[in-house]
């Protein structure tokens, strides 16, 4: 690709001939803001005024990204973070009109469109996912989760940690997600940026006071969590099913361990009540 073509704006601004003139102008304007290094400035706008737009837009995007991924931003460092931010802004098709969902768009960009360099930490995507998860659990509407996971059952959740969790049906925190990461993402910080691979199961959930709770788990209990989220089983039935799926039918110690996990989750607020 020749530099001349870029500078003439032709590469960044290929448009069908039928496009109305004002749309051509808008396209040239928008594409220059997205990729000033590759798309020439519109000829009827001077540099000083165009710079106002370029700066406003890019700072705005970077403030969404740094606000959504503060740990990642700090570890990556300002210069590299800006390069990734520019790649996101210039190439990703942002579908969401909602500001809090820009984080999800960025996550999707990292997963599908971004090619990490050797400078990037290997856990880049996983750390971003974990930071996004905290936001998701904080703001996701309860009704939306209830619709997806509990069908029509809409009785209000109460908090009752005196219930017998094995003989009743555990009802989960309204927003609870468990993930198995390949890195201990919850231990990564600017002070601790170098971590080794280590399978790490984490549960993030909305607490009774609407705060976000975190708990370490393991692949076995993550599976128990997903059985409980399906609903319709007592604690004992869920544990029994889990054991049979794992080829551990009748294993009393494993069964006791499962029930203990349920009681622990009830105390933490991952399970809110049993019915």
């Amino acid at each position: 690709m020749s530099r001349e073509l870029y500078e003439s704006g032709e590469l960044g601004n290929q448009v069908p001939n039928s496009m109305p003139e004002f749309k051509r102008i808008q396209q040239a304007f928008a594409n220059h803001i997205k990729s000033p290094e590759h798309v020439a400035r519109p000829s009827d706008v001077d540099e000083r005024h165009m710079a106002v737009y370029r700066d406003l837009f890019f700072k705005n995007i970077m403030s969404f990204l740094s606000g959504g991924f503060p740990v990642l931003a700090e570890i990556i460092g300002e210069e590299r973070w800006q390069v990734i931010g520019r790649a996101f802004f210039s190439s990703h098709y942002n579908k969401t009109p909602y500001f809090l969902e820009i984080s999800r768009e960025f996550l999707s960009f990292l997963e599908h469109e971004y090619t990490p360099t050797t400078e990037d930490p290997a856990y880049l995507y996983e750390l971003a996912h974990y930071e996004w998860l905290e936001l998701f659990v904080d703001v996701e509407p309860e009704e939306k989760v209830a619709e997806a996971t509990r069908g029509k059952e809409s009785a209000e959740l109460v908090f009752d940690n005196n219930c017998n969790i094995s003989s009743t049906t555990p009802r989960m925190s309204p927003v609870v997600e468990g993930f198995l990461y390949q890195y201990p993402v919850h231990q990564i910080s600017a002070e601790n940026p170098s971590v080794e691979t280590k399978e790490t199961a984490l549960i993030v959930f909305r607490k009774r006071d609407d705060d976000v709770g975190f708990a370490e788990s393991n692949p076995f209990t993550l599976q128990l969590l997903s059985l409980l989220k399906e609903g319709g089983r007592t604690g004992a039935e869920a544990v029994t099913l889990l054991l049979s799926q794992r080829g551990l039918e009748g294993h009393q110690a494993a069964y006791n361990g499962g029930i203990k996990t349920l009681e622990h989750w009830l105390a933490l607020g991952i399970i809110w009540e049993g019915r």
Binding site: M19, P20, E21, F22, K23, I25, Q26, Q27, A28, F29, A30, N31, I33, K34, P42, D44, V45, R48, H49, M50, V52, Y53, L56, F57, N60, I61, F64, F89, H92, Y93, N94, K95, T96, P97, Y98, F99, L100, E101, I102, V137, D138, V139, E140, P141, E142, E143, K144, V175, R206, D210, D211
Partner: protein, 278 residues
């Protein structure tokens, strides 16, 4: 007096203000405005706090992502969600910017629509589509601009043509008129006089940043400049006393300072009320 959907002096509500403003009364701040894009699909503690505000205050939606002038297709599903959100919270009206903020995807800030005849028809048609969905008039705001790409007519003529053709309402941002009068060299009062009074739903006022003597940036990050207060007085004198909202999005000061600036709007309204003969 015309019948407005809100009254008095208002303030834009931001997430950072949920805590600080929790004990403010509707006598202090008569109405509020939110960006639906910050609140649709938000539950948990933020959702509950927000609900406590819409239960107590008169609210307007002031959107940022509609992108009414964009080449991208109008997001019909989004407009329906805004409409639903307004019903859920008893929000009285929906205002948006006469600009575009997406091109092959959202860009999350405002760009200037070229002031051309073709663009007038295009934008007016899209406004009509939105109005059909929300089943009420859309309120369109004049925006600050730092460039006028492809300009074939004056901003005021473009604005008026869109409003007439779309048969919509106007949110007149007095600060934006001032900012543009400096940036593009026109007479702010002449612009204001040309606005059809009966189309105005409410006013915005805000602080801006002086990047250079001839280049102002609409930051909403400072107190309102005296030039803009003067222009607000002029607007009241010419168009009558109109509900007016203070926008403050950055460098947010204490609640006491915010309320005292809202009080300055009330003062201007009282002052003009004595002068104004309907």
């Amino acid at each position: 007096m015309p019948n407005y959907s809100v009254n008095g002096a208002g303030l834009g509500l931001r997430r950072a203000l949920l805590g600080p403003l929790s004990s403010v009364t509707p006598e202090q701040i008569n109405f509020m405005e939110v960006a639906p894009e910050n609140w649709i699909g938000v539950g948990g503690r933020l959702g509950k706090q927000f609900r406590s505000f819409t239960e107590r205050f008169d609210f307007l939606c002031h959107g940022l992502s509609l992108s009414i002038g964009s080449s991208d297709p109008l997001d019909i599903n989004f407009v329906k969600q805004v409409s639903q959100f307004m019903k859920e919270h008893g929000i009285k009206a929906y205002s948006e910017h006469l600009s575009f903020c997406s091109h092959e995807g959202h860009m999350y800030d405002l760009m200037p629509i070229p002031f051309t005849e073709e663009a007038v028809h295009y934008v007016a048609q899209r406004i009509r589509t939105v109005q059909d969905i929300i089943e009420q008039p859309l309120i369109i705001e004049n925006v600050s601009a730092y460039a006028q790409p492809g300009k074939e007519m004056e901003e005021i003529d473009f604005l008026k043509a869109v409003i007439e053709e779309a048969d919509c309402r106007l949110l007149l941002d007095v600060n934006n008129v001032f900012v543009n009068s400096i940036n593009h060299g026109f007479d702010a009062k002449e612009y204001l006089i040309k606005i059809p009074t009966e189309r105005i739903s409410y006013l915005h006022i805000a602080g801006h940043y002086e990047e250079a003597e001839d280049l102002l940036v609409d930051t909403h990050g400072a107190t309102v400049k005296q030039d803009v207060w003067d222009l607000l007085d002029f607007t009241y004198q010419h168009h009558g006393v109109i509900p007016t909202l203070l926008e403050r999005d950055f460098n947010i000061p204490s609640v006491a300072e915010l309320i005292s600036e809202v009080d300055l709007i009330k003062y201007a309204q009282a002052k003009a009320g004595g002068l104004y003969e309907p």
